[in-house]
Amino acid sequence: MAVQSVLESVAACIVEGDEHRAQETVEEALAMGLPPQEVVDGGLVAGMRMVSDKWKAMEIFLPEVMMAVETWRAAMDIIEPYLTAEARNDLKRGVVVIGAVRGDIHEIGKNIVAILLKTAGFEVHDLGTDVPASVFVSEAEKVKADIIAASALMTTTMPFQKDIVEYLTMRGQRDRYFVMVGGGPVTPQWAEEIGADAYGQTADDAMRLALDYMDSCRSS
């Protein structure tokens, strides 16, 4: 198979969510002598970019994106041992701790954000639902997070987003993390009022905010 053809095949496997074929195709590419970084950039990343474009155009939905992420992971299991430590590090855009705040059991919106962040190359630690402020912070410390993302889908759970910012401030750790908030009743005005760094109305907004923040960190 020609080089371009095998890379397109890898990308297609990501889009189709075919884990088994993705692993086979990655192995074929490596056997052909392709540099692992080229397989990642031209195959896996290219495929994930197509997934992101299709998601934005609403041609595919959450299940397809979830399967693409699983396929990426399966393919990376094959290729990761061949990557240099530097290359592995470059693939990671940043580390995010995400959850639905105390008292809130709604998680689909938060799950979509988590999945999109993974497609963008973030390492995501999903705390689930009904998460106290202290757990957001302790997990962020443990995994050396860059970003804390907190969702609230009810006006009565929104106050617990404020708790996270207050907790960080109390511990003198406020500047250590980029805090972004979202969820149905959350507004830019609320985010500003509680001292959060950013507000995302949609999952795509959240992904863009996270990417912009990490880019600004790299350039400063």
Partner: protein
């Protein structure tokens, strides 16, 4: 129908499954399989498709899906599953009507069919939207109760109590539930409709204990008590406990659900199938008196886009044609009060729902996510359109809905927020400003031009 105790037993002893496996290994593959098997295909040109065969296939797909997938209990990590025979029995024994309210305000909500000439039940209110203080709450609820075509009310959600923010799971939530009950009953008395049913349980109540608190201070068995789902096809002990309590109270359960288009069910096809499946879950697990869905767009948070109108239309027809369980559709607009767009959206989803066989709850405006952005005028239009839509065919509804969509669908992503209640109404007298009255009459005139006898 199997007893509720059996449901609890299956929640405690059903097959174990992790949440991730339920979503990715059980739910998603089966949904893809049934959408393919039953050839469910979205039709962009026809948001209200007059297609009996499609509706019946969606229903069959929903049945097969629910039998295979069941309901997942997140607290026990087990699946509550049913046999085909149990599902069939539930469909046969499900209620076909429910009486809500007391005294002269007691009325019957019945199951309808597509293109039925039976008047739809019109529940009016806030769709869960929040208000900033009790003055606005009482003004709104009294005004809702005075709407001539309103059969029941969903109250707004109190967000503040005596200057304090209500936080879920705290004593303030309990007091908020009690205050909601007490104030609501007083508002109904002032409006001369003391027996009018309140049908959203208690909007402020997140946990079951708050629901129970409200039931001691004014919420009655003859009201409607909403029991929700966790997306998708999930429940928990708190929700099941609410069911247990309300059953003992003798209350009327509204089996509520908001299947997300773009979420686990995928696109419009899967979301329509999921809505049909949820109606069975509503009978068996939530022990509902009716199915109360609000399929919702994952990004826009509303259900007036072309795809969501298709989802509502097709799944409503599926259920109305094949089940006698009543349907009460809940709408969410993207635009807010005192905008032309909000009124167009209202008309579109109400026409689609009523003509396809549902009754209506109107509605959450501005996605019901902005405090104080709601008025009685939007639900008023909804009730007038709901009554005027009687006699329309699905084909006729499709034409009107297409014309309305042309006017607003491209603006959904950046929909105008509109005005707060206190900006477009006199709060004391609950009367709209002249500008809003003019806008309202202009839109009604446009709708008359489309053939609606308003």
């Amino acid at each position: 129908m199997i007893d509720f105790e059996e449901i609890v037993d299956r929640a405690l002893n059903g097959p174990l499954c992790s949440p991730q496996d339920f979503d990715l290994q059980v739910f998603v593959p089966k949904m893809r399989e049934v959408v393919r098997k039953y050839e469910i295909k979205y039709d962009d040109a026809n948001p209200v498709p007059p297609d009996d065969d499609l509706a019946d296939r969606v229903f069959s797909a929903g049945l097969e899906f629910y039998e295979a997938v069941g309901t997942y209990c997140v607290d026990s990590e087990r699946i509550i599953k049913f046999t085909q025979a149990e599902i069939q029995q539930a469909l046969e024994q499900a209620p076909s009507a429910v009486h809500l309210g007391d005294g002269k305000d007691r009325r019957q909500l019945v199951a309808r069919r597509p293109e039925s000439d039976v008047l739809p039940w019109c529940s009016v209110g806030a769709g869960g939207a929040g208000v900033s203080n009790e003055r606005i709450f009482t003004s709104l609820v009294t005004a809702y109760a005075r709407l001539p075509l309103a059969d029941s009310i969903t109250t707004p959600s109190l967000t503040m109590l005596d200057g304090r923010s209500i936080s879920a799971g705290t004593p303030l939530e309990i007091e908020g539930a009690i205050r909601t009950a007490v104030l609501s009953r007083e508002c109904l008395r002032r409006a001369g409709r003391p027996g009018m049913p309140l049908v959203n349980g208690i909007a402020t109540a997140v946990y079951g204990r708050a629901t129970i608190a409200g039931s001691q201070f004014g919420f009655r068995p003859s009201d409607g008590w909403e029991i929700a789902s966790i997306a998708e096809m999930k429940t928990n002990f708190d929700l099941l406990s609410k069911v247990a309590y309300i059953l003992s109270l003798g209350g009327n359960i509204l089996a509520e659900t908001g299947p997300i288009m773009g979420g686990l069910a995928g696109g419009p096809e899967g979301t329509a199938v999921l809505n049909a499946a949820y109606h069975i879950e509503g009978i068996l697990v939530k022990r509902g008196c009716l199915h109360h869905p609000f399929p919702i767009h994952m990004t826009y948070g509303s259900n007036t886009s072309r795809r969501l109108l298709w989802v509502q239309s097709v799944s409503t027809q599926a259920i109305a044609r094949n089940s006698h369980f009543p349907l009460l559709n809940l709408g969410y607009t993207a635009a807010g009060p005192m905008t032309r767009m909000c009124l167009y959206e209202t008309a579109a989803w109400v026409i689609a729902s009523v003509v396809c066989g549902a009754s209506i709850e109107a509605e959450g405006v501005a996605r019901a996510t902005h405090v104080d952005y709601l008025t009685p005028l939007e639900p008023r239009l909804a009730t007038e359109v709901a009554h005027a839509a009687i006699g329309l065919s699905r084909q006729g509804a499709n034409e009107i809905v297409n014309r309305l969509l042309e006017k607003y669908e491209h603006h959904i992503p950046e929909a105008p927020l509109g005005s707060k209640y206190q900006e477009c109404f006199d709060v004391e007298s609950a009367t709209p400003v002249p500008e809003y009255v003019d806008l309202y009459e202009q839109v009604k005139s446009e709708l008359r031009g489309y053939g609606l006898p308003l």
